[in-house]
């Protein structure tokens, strides 16, 4: 029976340590992370009944903000919320029923077209679908 030499013990310990330092990240990797939404094309914005009429909701679509509007009549519309003037985020002006950019008062109608103010081009519109209870926004 060979006596375990110092070198062998050293080898065994350092090997174990190295393997452990490699296994740790691999195992942590396998545990699912908390974030759910990953794809860019379709984004679930929320539940249809949770949005009151004549209000809006800002959500992230891809890399940029987008706005979901429920009109007084209950119609759901979605647009890119990036104002075409200087990229501020637009909001829904419920009293006038239009989309407003609060930075320089650019105004858009509910088709995204510019009504007044400095924006040079219309807001990009997105498709809204309702699947069951959920609102799904996707690129047109």
């Amino acid at each position: 029976m060979k006596r375990r030499s110092f070198i062998d013990i050293f080898l065994f310990l350092s090997l174990t340590g190295t393997i452990a330092s490699f296994l740790y990240p691999l195992i942590r990797y396998l545990i699912p992370p908390k974030k759910a939404k990953v794809t860019a094309k379709k984004v679930v914005v929320g539940k249809a009944r949770e949005i009151p009429p004549n209000t809006h909701k800002i959500f992230k679509f891809g890399e940029e903000p987008a706005i979901l509007i429920k009109t007084q009549e209950g119609e759901l519309l979605a647009f890119s919320a990036v104002c075409t003037h200087l990229s501020c985020s637009v909001i829904y002006q419920s009293e006038e029923g239009i989309i407003l950019c609060p930075c320089h008062n650019g105004k858009f109608d509910l088709s995204g077209r510019v009504i007044s103010g400095p924006p040079p081009s219309p807001l990009r519109s997105y498709k809204v679908e309702i699947s069951g209870e959920e609102i799904i926004v996707s690129r047109t």
Binding site: P25, L26, Y29, L30, K34, K35, V38
Partner: protein, 361 residues
């Protein structure tokens, strides 16, 4: 004490059913020649080790990656940002891919210059060359998967070149791309190649390659005298030295991953114009730049067609070197082939360097 007994019981149980002891006897006898060029022997093993890293990290990545136009880029971003150690696994995979291909080239050229391809190892060389092609295909297909600007356009440029091969070019390009242009079908197809088809083919070709090395042993350089060569046992001498190399490379890749994590880039937009100076990855540059530098017409033949046919023909010759190098098969020095190989190697290195010094070719 008890551990040893349990170990012995398990061993004898397996031995009776798998004939392990005869395998171990054979392994104990395995010897590797040691001489002034034996340093180059390590590169084959490094390729194998790096391949295993790719398999492991690739399997991990497939857990979170989505091979669709809407999901690819975002899932890579997700892996880099949200998955615990995702940045490490992904950067490992990308860095190792490049290092692996570099090592394959080193391994190939070192066996070339050492004439290890000669009789009876011709098939080892041929299977090795096929492995080079397989791994270049791995690199090309994998490069598209993150679906960022660079990968999209590099794929388009690369397949455009494939399309110019006479006779079969158009059908080949259509088959590779899954259509006339780079699209969602291309992404799916490349994923299929990269994750299913190529690994399967690799198992067989690599298996053959390693089997041949085991059967035939290591080739010794021509002209070395007996006293200049020492025979050392594979287990444990050579394998320990092998593992030393592997461990250090692992450490190197880890450092690269922490300080130079692989970039995510900008998401590919099919409708935007090709960015200036787009190039494929470095291991294709020598072919790419040659194509660019060749004059548009040589006599009446289109320059790029000539170049592509030239490369295909050259590749064929390279693959058949063991059968062409008659002198080496007779254990004689063949300086002609050495010099030819040197010229090819120098050409590859110089033209690659030239490309990076002149990015706006």
């Amino acid at each position: 004490m008890r551990m040893k007994k349990i170990g012995r019981v398990i061993y004898s149980h397996l031995d009776q059913r798998l004939r392990l002891s005869s395998l171990i006897e054979m392994a104990k006898k395995k010897k590797v020649p040691e001489h002034k060029f034996s340093f180059w022997y390590y590169f084959g093993g490094i390729c194998l080790f790096l391949f295993f890293i790719q398999v492991v990290t690739g399997i991990m990545l497939a857990l979170y990656y989505k091979p669709t136009v809407d999901g690819a880029y975002e899932s890579v971003k997700f892996i880099m940002g949200e998955v615990r150690f995702g940045w490490l696994i992904r950067s490992f995979h990308s860095w190792t891919a490049n290092i692996l291909i570099g090592t394959i080239f080193i391994h190939m050229f070192s066996t070339f210059f050492l004439k290890a391809y000669r009789n009876p190892r011709e098939l080892t060389w041929v299977s090795g060359f096929l492995l080079l092609l397989i791994f270049l295909a791995f690199g090309f297909s994998g490069y598209l998967l993150p679906w960022n600007e660079l990968s999209f356009f590099a794929t388009r440029v690369g397949t455009d070149i494939a399309g110019t091969i006479p006779l079969i070019g158009k059908q080949l390009k259509n088959f590779i791309l899954g259509g006339p242009d780079v699209s969602e079908f291309t992404l799916q197809r490349f994923f299929w190649f990269h994750v299913i088809v190529l690994p399967l083919i690799t198992v067989f070709v690599l298996g053959l390659h390693i089997l041949l090395v085991q059967i035939l042993g290591m080739s010794k350089p021509i002209g070395l005298k007996e006293k200049q060569i020492k025979e050392v046992p594979f287990f444990p001498n050579f394998i320990l030295k092998d593992s030393l190399g592997w461990i250090l490379i692992l450490s190197l890749i880890g450092i690269l991953c922490v300080f130079f994590p692989w970039e995510i880039g900008k998401k590919a937009d099919m409708f935007s114009p090709t960015p200036l100076g787009i190039k494929p990855e470095w291991y294709f540059i020598f072919m790419f730049t040659t194509l660019k530098l060749i004059p548009s017409h040589v006599f009446t033949i289109k320059g790029e067609v000539l170049a592509i046919v030239g490369f295909i023909f050259g590749a064929l010759l390279w693959m058949l070197v063991p059968y062409l190098d008659r002198r080496a098969s007779r254990e004689k020095k063949s300086p002609f082939f050495s010099i030819a190989g040197l010229i090819i190697l120098l050409y590859i290195i110089l033209i690659t360097l030239y490309t990076y010094l002149h990015p706006r070719l």
